[in-house]
Amino acid sequence: MSGLQDALDGLFARYAMAIDDDRLEDWLGLFAEDCRYRIASRENVEAGLPVSVVYADGRAMLADRVSALRRANIYEAQRYRHVIGRALVEAGPPAAARAGYHVARIMREGDLMLFSTGEYRAAFDEALRIREMTVVYDNARIDTLLALPL
């Protein structure tokens, strides 16, 4: 079990650093081809309401999200800093796990805020690629906009 624990902690760390380093293309590489990824509020998830703020059915849609951020969408320069807690391994292999996160957002002009807290609920394939992930964010209100993935 400790091997899987280490592997999942390492995977969440790579997930976080890829976003925080602005290596979103590397972040895409953590997902399986037929993955499902969504970012949804705790409020909606707990009420059984299906809408998400970001929903990708397949890695191609996630790739479209990244290319839109690179080429189409306009947003002020910003970075995230993730802190992800130790993964709670719930099954595996194939693995399923939860992990809590804090994300601080740092704007170009230097303002820093605690932008989001929440948890990852993830399931992985045999190769430990993300097959399914729901990012459940606790903060019902999103400040200004959500551009980068959480």
Partner: protein
């Protein structure tokens, strides 16, 4: 009534210059709460689908004022301030509830679903000591009530006895446009809540501004979902305050002005890896792929292909606004359409491919307007009036907003 004489005078009789102070002046913000939000206008409270059961209630806001909207056990709608008549605490914390009485947690005063004070804890004292004076009349104490009414599954309320009926307030064109998208039983899909770093009017102007859509929102234009060359138009009602802008899909044609403009939005060869996202269904049967509608002052109805939502703009201070999105489909959606709505929800909301910029752009104006007392913005695309127009390279409905705002504010 506050003295507004120290506010800067509106520059001239027209609607083409908007003083930047209207977004920043605290006295004006307070005056809006009184004259507009507690004045003779109807304000969105919730969807009927959010209040489906008899003997239930929800919390909402009219301007800054906390409000409870309720459905009594006979199914009738009511609305009243969410403020205990005793010490002013919120009567209802949270989203809402159900039952025949709503009880304030502080001293357990309770109210029926029409907002009448029904119970005062220990009204007769304890063992003959304390209690309220004998002459205390519960009927004379209670939160202020609103008139509540529904149209097209949308519940509105007004504090004003002088406001016309809701149907007259909306008018026939806007009612027809609302009924176009809200014609059958609704299924709620969820909510988004977004905090905007700007005055509430900047968001409402942005929604009414069809001119910016293909310029700021590059995603939309890139995939030819919304080019100004598409067939479309802007309808503005006689008051100016309500509008509906629309465009029809697959009527796109080459337009030299557009191409020559060298717009940032126009990026040839950019294709989606998975185009399922933008494959809409013509569910209303009229080819209209986009309809954005506002009801003055703070309600928005949105159809972006099959992504349907209502948005409620809630002022939280002169430079802070909460935007509440309620996404919906219909009870008779087939599984394919239900999934399509969830995919197209990516287009809108706080992370929307075509709406995320709107969350920030009001803040750009709010910041830009610092130190701009005495200066004014220019709103002159499409002329100086606020009439309905073909095409969408116009700011006619933005001028309409100011026409209605000036009338109700007396400025």
């Amino acid at each position: 009534m506050q003295d507004l004489s120290r506010l800067p005078a509106w520059p001239g009789p027209g609607l083409t210059r908007v003083p930047f102070e209207v977004y920043r002046d605290p006295a004006l913000y307070k005056a809006e709460q009184e004259r507009l939000f507690r004045g003779p206008a109807w304000h969105f409270l919730c969807m009927e689908a959010e209040l489906p059961e008899p003997a239930s209630w929800r919390t909402t806001f009219v301007g800054e004022t906390p409000v409870i909207v309720s459905r009594d056990r006979h199914g009738r709608l009511h609305a009243f301030e969410n403020r205990c008549a005793h010490r002013g605490a919120l009567i209802c914390l949270g989203e809402g509830g159900r039952g025949r009485r709503i009880q304030c947690v502080y001293h357990a005063w309770n109210y029926d679903l029409e907002g009448n004070l029904r119970g005062v804890a220990f009204e007769g004292g304890i063992d003959g000591a304390g209690g309220m004076p004998a002459g205390f009349d519960k009927a004379r104490h209670g939160p202020r009530k609103l008139r509540a009414a529904a149209c097209c599954g949308l519940v509105f309320g007004t504090f004003s006895p002088d406001a016309p009926g809701l149907e007259d307030w909306l008018g026939p064109e806007i009612s027809t446009r609302l009924a176009r998208v809200l014609g059958k039983p609704v299924r709620l899909l969820g909510r988004h809540r977004q905090m905007l770093p700007n005055n509430w009017k900047l968001y409402v102007e942005n929604v009414k501004d069809s001119y910016h859509a293909s310029l700021l929102h590059s995603f939309f234009a890139t995939f030819r979902l919304n080019r100004l060359t598409q067939e479309g138009g802007v309808e503005v009602d006689d008051s100016g305050g309500h509008h509906a802008s629309w465009s029809r899909m697959r009527t796109d044609r080459p337009n030299e002005d557009y191409e020559k403009g060298g717009l940032r939005a126009w990026k040839e060869g950019y294709a989606l890896a998975d185009p399922r996202l933008i494959r809409g269904r013509d569910e209303f049967g009229d080819g209209v792929s986009l309809q954005i509608l506002t009801v003055f002052p703070t309600f928005v109805s949105q159809q972006v292909q099959n992504a349907l939502a209502v948005r409620h703009v809630v002022p939280k201070g002169v430079d802070r606004t909460e935007l509440l999105w309620t996404c919906y489909g219909f009870e008779d959606d087939d599984p394919e359409l239900a999934e399509q709505r969830l995919l197209q929800a990516n287009l809108v909301g706080p992370a929307g491919f075509i709406s995320m910029e709107d969350g920030a752009v009001g803040g750009f104006v709010q910041r830009g307007a610092a130190g701009a007392a005495g200066l004014a913005g220019v709103v002159e695309m499409g002329g100086a009036g606020a009439e309905s127009q073909r095409g969408r390279a116009t700011e006619t409905s933005v001028r309409g907003f100011w026409k209605a705002w000036r009338a109700v504010m007396g400025l």
